[in-house]
């Protein structure tokens, strides 16, 4: 079959787009949450950690259901969006982004928290004594020292978002060309007995995932080991 046929390219690019945006969304929220939990002491910190990690262990369909309750047209957030802004996320690629972002959030959050906690506070204190503001301390010391762990987490999150199936299907459905991502297209192809398309989609997905895992494994190797 033609590897550049629309059957392959459209879901591939849609998946990359959804996974990319999901990584951006989960990246910002995951980094903020991780920094807060890692560096600020507040009551209920461990409970917050558990809640933020929940999407990693819950079945994606359960998450999808929660999301529908929240952002569906009659949901708490979805209802408001629909009334005030006329926006509906259900059955759109943006809805798929929300689903993928929620599912991949814990991967970034966990990696970033470990990375932030791995930065010895002495370095931050040294920067403060050397006249740096808290913003400067974060961007010139904390983030550069935690960066590799965070990047590895983001790559895993991207891979996870790329393979997202359950929550995406529940929130965004499977509209060819609009919300039908790679993993959903595989399912549809198999269901339709279209083995050639299924084979090719599976290979493309596998290659992308292997590449991401190799790269993140390389990034996770310690670099600043003290002699």
């Amino acid at each position: 079959m033609n590897p550049f046929s629309e059957d392959v390219l459209i879901p591939l690019f849609l998946s990359l787009k959804v996974a990319g945006w999901a990584t951006v969304v989960a990246g910002f929220s995951g980094l903020s949450a991780a920094y807060l939990v890692a560096k600020v002491r507040f009551p209920g910190r461990e409970l917050a950690d558990a809640v933020l990690t929940l999407p990693m262990v819950m079945p994606p369909t359960v998450l999808g259901y929660y999301l529908l309750v929240l952002i569906g047209r009659r949901g708490v957030i979805g209802g408001w969006l629909d009334r005030e802004l006329g926006i509906s996320l259900v059955f759109t690629w943006q809805g798929a982004v929300v689903a993928a972002a929620v599912v991949s959030f814990p991967l970034i959050y966990k990696a970033a928290r470990a990375a932030f906690e791995g930065v010895e506070s002495q370095y931050e204190q040294a920067a403060r004594v050397l006249g740096k503001s808290e913003w400067n301390v974060f961007f010139r010391v904390t983030l550069p020292l935690a960066w590799r762990g965070i990047l590895a987490g983001m790559m895993l999150a991207f891979a996870r978002a790329l393979g997202e199936f359950g929550a995406t299907l529940m929130v965004a459905g499977s509209l060819p060309g609009r919300t039908q991502t790679l993993s959903i297209a595989v399912y549809e192809a198999v269901q339709a007995g279209n083995d050639q398309v299924a084979n090719f989609l599976v290979i493309v997905t596998s290659v992308v995932c292997v590449f991401i895992l190799v790269a993140s494994g390389y990034l996770l190797k310690p670099r600043y080991a003290t002699a």
Partner: protein, 268 residues
């Protein structure tokens, strides 16, 4: 130089409580704070630098009030004009030696430090006899070299006072006496007043112009040693008096020593 400290702080962990209640004045150029580990030396030093907030009290350096709980003053660490040498030097592992030294004088929007800062860095590398190590990274340096870089990094901002947390603890014993001499030279060269904390009597003997003994979070003694050289008529270091003092400081009974608390933890 004058450091005035009169602070109180209670540190709590699960089963322990440590009370710090120290009051002292440092007037000399080389002040040594001596005490066993757990006596509250580090907390006191961090409080002066603004890295640890006392519960109550007052801290002033050269008449400038840095902390005063009654007046609601708490100058942030970055505005205190205080240099700090961390026990294992805390050199930034992601920055080269030059970048480490220039760190305190390079604003975030500059990709490279200004010409005059680069000049200062080069001078400091020369003074500390590491002119070829500018582009090396901290993990490639020996202990002594790391200490020199950390000193250069602190001194480039011309601090009012330099606080040193166990500066020789991370070095092997062979190197210690040499680095003590270097520190005396540095003090003489930069005319920067220093407050050194240590649990090593040899540091007291070689460095101290004034000695402060801390024990269980209290100031036990303040002694002026009348400046260097600390030698008797026959040229021996005057350590007898100090050793007597230090021995005495260990013998005083006190049920609430951190060591006693640790034992209590182990039993329970």
């Amino acid at each position: 130089m004058r450091i005035e400290v009169d602070i109180r702080k209670t540190l709590r962990s699960r089963s322990r409580e440590f009370r710090l209640d120290v009051a002292f004045v440092c007037n000399e150029n080389l002040n040594v704070m001596f005490g066993a580990s757990g006596a509250g030396k580090s907390v006191t030093l961090k409080a002066i630098a603004g890295l640890e907030r006392p519960d109550a009290g007052r801290i002033a350096v050269n008449g400038r009030v840095l902390f005063d709980s009654a007046a609601g003053i708490d100058v942030p660490a970055r505005h205190r004009g205080v240099g700090y040498l961390f026990q294992d030097y805390a050199l930034f592992p992601h920055l080269s030696v030059e970048e480490n030294i220039a760190f305190g004088l390079k604003p975030w929007w500059q990709r490279r430090p200004r010409h005059n800062v680069r000049r200062k860095v080069a001078d400091l590398l020369e003074i500390f006899e590491i002119p070829t190590l500018g582009s090396a990274y901290p993990q490639q340096l020996s202990g002594g070299q790391r200490q020199r870089v950390a000193l250069a990094r602190a001194l480039i901002r011309a601090p009012n006072v330099l606080l040193l947390d166990e500066p020789f603890a991370a070095l092997d014993p062979m190197l210690r006496s040499r680095m003590r001499d270097e520190l005396l030279n540095t003090q003489w060269l930069f005319k920067v007043p220093m407050l050194v904390i240590t649990h090593d009597p040899d540091d007291v003997a070689t460095l101290a112009e004034s000695l402060l003994v801390l024990r269980d979070g209290r100031t036990l003694r303040e002694v002026s040693l009348n400046g260097p050289p600390f030698r008797d008529d026959e040229g021996r270091p005057v350590t007898a008096e100090i050793r007597r003092l230090l021995a005495e400081s260990r013998q005083l009974p006190d049920a609430a020593t951190p060591a006693a608390l640790r034992t209590a933890d182990a039993v329970s």
